[in-house]
Symmetry: C2
DNA sequence: TTGACTTATATGTCTAGACATATAATCGTA
DNA sequence: TACGATTATATGTCTAGACATATAAGTCAA
């Protein structure tokens, strides 16, 4: 995993400056707290204008690799928390990306006025109607995950008439509701009877749970719970620093 | 976007431009695929130089909110994957941040020549010595997580003499090994006898597992497995887009 | 219709300045 | 010694230009 390519093939100057500094930080040559050269020193070293080094340093600051302090200089940040970037793909995309055949099966779909439990789950005080969907995703005919979803129809009216018997609701929403925000909660449970049957695992086997709550500009869109067989599925997250 | 209502309290112009555009994207006013105004149009609208709008647009591109194409313009990106930022804090920091009292207990520490299993776990072909550590973290006297760690002494020689009876190895490493990279794998298991006893839960209860593999510039540092009671602990990840 | 060539244009990068602003360091005073 | 005022300075933002470059779109010939 080449973290910094050779300086010579870097296309532009500011990218080369950024890569040079990033390399020194990541290899530990410049440890946390180290003051990196002043802008005017880098200007002299690279023979360019201040705007060019400023752009390089600004990007490093945006990436939280350095901290810039007026009058004091720029310092390598001490990574106090481990911020991992976790990619939770659309399940269909995830499975096909693995080169396996994707299978989808709608277990149940109900359109109803929101119950108290529904409102609680969606985090709204009063809601009109909701769609509740249960479905199963499989890879190479083997159960991959079961999904239990609630969609707020006051935010996504089209979901009332959408055909979820062939298209998974996650994919449908991805194409019909642009730019949502979401919060994920990851936990573990053991399979109860229904879950065990749906995932074709033993009762009492471990399951990885992802609860996702999605909204757009303060409007609730959907709440979904995904259950994966805990011993087969893996969520991988990578991060830099810390 | 109110260009007439000149907000004197707005921090800076380029940040205002960025915020204006970001808002339109996030509210869905400008959906994915929408071409946002050309730089020269924004220059006219805001009455500033091109470098200023360029800085705003560059930051939006860096945040993956827009895509910039030469000659064609800048377009709102379609969020194809759900990239969540998952913060996995140092456990001590995590517990104290919750306002609970942190407790730490070293269960075992062994310095040994790396076995085949150790080498496999660390992903190295030949290693000299390693330290194996087992410890337990608790919050308000209640078991919070158990940790099973391997440190490669050829990368971190100081770990051989570090006193892990009082300081958790995670915290120690955080202060002694700067700027690592890591990969996390999240899964679920059910507690076996030893785990159940260490976490004070029932045998067969669900556990959330985080395996973290850490390196710095191609050198393996440590491999650690953290076990959390699955029904109590939650990993929260937030993301924008998708 | 298709492919090759040309042109127009939006973004990418860069310059050599400018003034603003926060703040570390210094100095002066009580 | 402690504290308040002053000064120096590194970063933050911005300008009005410049040339480079990728590429969408148009042009023309086979």
């Amino acid at each position: 995993m080449s973290l910094a390519t050779d300086a010579a093939d870097q296309p532009t100057l500011y990218k080369r400056i950024r890569a040079d500094i990033e390399k020194r930080i990541l290899t530990g040559e410049w440890p946390p707290g180290h003051r990196i050269p002043f802008e005017h020193e880098l200007v002299a070293r690279y023979g360019c204008s201040r705007m060019t080094v400023n752009k390089a340093l600004s990007e490093l600051a945006q990436a939280d690799l350095i901290e810039r302090r007026r009058r004091a200089g720029s310092f390598v940040r001490r990574p106090q928390h481990q911020s991992a970037v976790l990619t939770i793909a659309d399940i269909r995309a995830e499975i096909t990306a693995l080169g396996r055949s994707y299978g989808y099966e709608l277990i149940g779909r109900k359109l109803r006025a929101a119950t108290a439990a529904d409102r609680d789950r969606l985090g709204v005080k009063k809601a009109g109607k909701v769609v509740a969907i249960a479905c199963r995703h499989s890879a190479d005919k083997v159960p991959f995950a079961v999904e239990d979803r609630l969609i707020d129809l006051s935010s996504v009216p089209d979901a009332a008439t959408a055909d979820f018997s062939r298209e998974p609701p996650g994919s449908w929403l991805l194409h019909h509701v642009p730019w949502t925000e979401a919060e994920h909660t990851i936990s573990a449970i053991v399979a109860d009877d229904r879950t065990a049957e749906a995932l074709d695992i033993a009762v009492g086997a471990p399951c990885l749970v992802i609860d996702r709550y999605t909204w757009r500009s303060a409007r609730t869109i959907t709440a979904v719970r995904l259950l994966y067989p805990g011993d087969s599925h893996r969520l991988v997250a990578r991060f830099k620093g810390g």
